[in-house]
Amino acid sequence: MNLQSHARRQFLGNVVSGLAGIGLLDLLGSPAANRGFAADLGNESAGGQVLPHHAAKAKRVLQIFCPGAASHMDLWEHKPMLEKMNGQPMPGEENLVSFQGKNGNLMQSPWPFKPSGQSGKAISTMLPHMATHVDDIAFIHSMHSKTNTHGPGCIFMNTGHDSEGFPGAGSWVSYALGSENENLPAYVAIPDIRGEPPNGKANWSNGFLPAKYQAITLSDQLPIRNLARPESIDAATDQDTRQFLQRMNRRFAASNPAESELQARVDAYSLAARMQLSAPEVSGLESESGETHRLYGTGDSNELKAAYARNCLLARRLLERGVRYVNLYCASRASGVDGLLNWDAHKTLKADYERHCPVFDQPTAALLTDLKRTGLLDDTLVLWTTEFGRMPTHQEGTVGRDHNPDGFTCWMMGAGVKGGVSYGATDEFGRRAEQNPTTVWDFYATVLHLLGYDHEKLTWYHNGLDRRLTDVHGNLIKAIVA
């Protein structure tokens, strides 16, 4: 996209493309300036749609998502009171009924917490590799959600809305910033080898944003769909067919020079051809050194860990090549057995997390180390998210914890984020966000701020409203911005 067209859109907004006749502007007499709108059929395959509102700290985002509601008090937020009052009723909520039913007494975390780094931040000893990064992380311990159900919770965390049909943060960022690398998609979702997260593809949906802002799903185990030339067609025929097709399409475009879509379509086929070359290259993990593979643990005997490690390495390669938004999942949807495939430890917390933490810990820490040592972290924003937290009590008759939408932890790291910071807190048991309660909208207001956008100005008209990633809420979390 050239500067001129960018400036024009900025001036007229993206509804009004060139109405110059006197008296015509009143045709569209509604407040249309700077609104995204379905009539915007912009064909720029790469450029963003919205000029930044201020200088950006981050150019791209890595969002790691641990679905199943990863327990804040067993991973990130130390609650000494749970150790003191282990086995006693939770004061004031002795008869608590939550998602799956009745709760028992308070239950301490099965693992000790240990201070690390210069900040002395204590996290679970189940995460020894992650402990090496605490000085670079800004923990937000006071997150709370609207819903206690996984599916709506996951999409709420990803789209700012707890019902389906809204664009994921990655789609918003693609819409705002466009692609940094024309030969790769702007937004990639990397599902876990165990499957999709709760609510599946709605987590990385483009919602009502045009399809060009959709996520491409890609993982080490799952190549981009339809990327490869069909086996039944040899390379020479394929090449000639594309050239023949492009001749046909160029002729049609030339005879209709005013229809910019037709030229865009010619360009899209060229871009697809370049993607066919770039995407296999980016997935070629074998070109990485043995040291890097060992760092991530890609050859680990734990197959789940090795698979996730390979996806972590893939994430770095995507970011390195200019993908704007990478959505990396560690764990999947719910299975018939709670806590088996994801972090949903209803009944057997210890056994479940002794399965999940080793999968998560080393590869994630390696990815952060790698981002640091390659300098990528300077302009990459890293997010760690889950859909909600867990109860300080055990579920009646079990040694697990039920859903807790009222308090949980997420964190940020990297470009523009203060390190070694813990913002907000739940109460002494971990039951409710108490100090600086923070919403998903606050979280994304901050993400967009770091990317150069005012979250209230990044909008798209849909069914009666100029929709935002942050709905009608959101305040910048100043305390964690460097």
Binding site: V16, G18, A20, G21, L24, L28, S30, P31, A38, A39, S45, V97, S98, F99, Q100, K146, T147, N148, T149, H150, G151, D162, S163, E164, P198, N199, G200, K201, G207, F208, L209, P210, A211, K212, Q214, R225, N226, L227, P230, T241, F244, R247, M248, R251, F252, A253, N256, A258, E259, E261, A268, A272, R333, A334, G336, E456, G464, L465, D466, V472
Partner: protein, 794 residues
Amino acid sequence: MNQSLLWCFVSLALVLGNAFPTLAVDFENDVAPILAEHCLRCHRPGNAKGDLSLETDQQLRDSEFVIGGDADSSHLVSLITAAEGETPEMPAEGKPLSSQQVKLIRDWVNEGASWPDGFRLQQRTKADADWWAFQPLRVDPDTSLDELIDRRLGETDLSRNPTADRHQLIRRVTFDLIGLPPTPEEIDAFVNDPAPDAYEHLIDRLLASPHYGERWGRHWLDVIRFGESNGFERNVLINNLWPFRDYVIRSLNEDKPFNQLIREHLAGDVLEPNEPDVVIGSAFLVAGPYDDVGNQDAVQAAQIRANTIDEMIRSSSEAFLGLTIGCARCHDHKFDPIKQDDYYSLYSTFAGTVHGDEVWATPSERQAHHDKSQPLHQQVASLEKQLRDLDDAIKQRESESANPITDQESKQRDEWKKQLDQVRQQLSQIPALPRAWLGRHDANRAKGPFHVFLGGSPQKPGEIVTTQSLVAMSTSDDQHEPSCASIAYSLSGDASESERRLAFANWVTDSQNPLTLRVLANRLWHYHFGTGIVATPSDFGYMGERPSHPELLDFLATQLRDHGWRIKPMHKLIMMSQTYRQSASFNADAAAMDADDRLLWRFPPQRLSAEAIRDSMLQLSGVWRRESILPRDDTSVSLQTESAVPSGGPGFRLYQFMQDNVCTYVPLDQHGPETYRRAVYHQNARASVVDLMTDFDQPDCAFGTPRRSETTTPLQALTMLNHSFTLDMSQAMATRLAKASDQVSDQVDLAYRGAFSRKPDDEERADCVSFIEQHGLAAFCRALLNASELIYVQ
């Protein structure tokens, strides 16, 4: 900055500008808007937090919140003021008032805090009851569609293009009405038809085609967010909602009046409970997504139920009324004259509706089933009783005798057991009555009184609401006389669930309701021209676009009303116009004035929808299967009954469906012949990406989609070039061409005519022939199916 803030600042700037010359504060223009915008939502009758209502000044004065002439002692002022770097106590939600706003309020208090007698503070919306869309239809009876278009063009010194040529016309109208390309035979017949009314005949033929309903039914299914899985976490496929899809297709083919169709959507089960073909219409209410995960937390469960009803409110108000009533869930609508009471009036209307399947049969089918099964049920009951009695008798004897059962009794028992098995066997062989996803209407759930939920929370019931028509369209005041005050309704608290839905259905579809007619007329225009007269077809409120041709919209709405809400005559009216028939040729001068062609100086070229692209591929390759392909051996299809739509019945799937605790949809790499049906028969699950369909902007059906995006992406190219479906279609098309002729140049001509509705020129033909000679027909067809010209219509 969001719109409301922007407008707040704009109005503030105006306020300041007005106030400047005298330095005196004008309460009504300066202060009241601030209080209304920032305070009133939580301090008003019905939601008087801290027992304070600002509707009048009485409580403000009584409680010394405001002491005229003394701002420093007035509590209100201290609440909205804070020390540097701190946040004032009020407003409790939202941003603090600006320093100018605080100063205005201080000055107003210091100047005596005058409050005009009888002044009631009200939240102002951008659109009032005199909003254009609510007004009666205004029509010049002597006008015509073309005249209304030409008038606007003339005002800008523009004029319409000349008529398109016949090749373009038949391609345009065929795609428009049936969503398929014209066949070479159809093209020849039309192009060579000497009759003066050849074009009219063409329109009539297409309107009578059974494929018309498949094309326009799909449009309607978009509008009403029809989808066949429940969405959310479990996202389970719904296998017996397809009769609703077939009902829509059939209704369109029959040209059922749309007021009737909409009435059936809202209350078909009430209108004709014994008529399955009408009852199925009300499946509309439960055709949206809903959360069915069991939740033991009572607060969360109540919220989920409220969300489910919210989905019905939004879907119906946007689809039928073009109003975003859903925006009034937590507070009065910010832009449109829709009160929270209006929202909860609809809440009471849909409160009894529950998702699920129900028996779907005529009374005689039910009777026949009853007649067959009832005697058998009776036999079962009596055999069971006999066995029980015998067992009881034996049990009594157990204490007395070591051998309580006689041989005869033992035999008898075996005999009865055998009989019981036989009868049960007979019972199981009676086919169950068919069940369809009709939803249930539970009168008990719908018992009032219903309350406004403050802030949208079921935990905060506010005032009791009355079930009634939209207030702004029902009451008159000094300024305006609503066009449809005469059809307003207000029901008593003990009105039944079905009465409420019926009252709403009748009000929406009354010919005196200008909104429904305008919205529907605009949708027709939107699909014919690619953009509606109102470019936001489901939003006729302030945030929507204004009509480009208000008189034309009213003209069409009136025509629709006068044609008894039938839309086939409307298609004909629109398509017979010169405006529709003009060519799509570009005109740089006109574009300089009106780049978006909103004035219609040319026919706007359009890209085909995802469905039309796939359907065209099926037609060109000759593999399209027009009959229903019932997978009789597929046990996952729970409803296997004949459909009234010959090509209908259970939908096909372009994904593999996997279900454990939740469901996963994996797109298929191979599309077998069972998928060679029109895309409208695809079982569209929510949040299930399906290659071609999604790449070409088929919307996820989480919401109604009044207008689809049209994007161009490299993913489209990858799918269209490499998915095996394209290869299969290319191969089939090649076989077909080879059968038709053994001359390569003839094959090229035939392919061009089928795909592009024209013959190739010499240069094109030569290029194609040489390519085919080198790489074969299938490779040629693969390229052709990827051609831009196939998917653009001029």
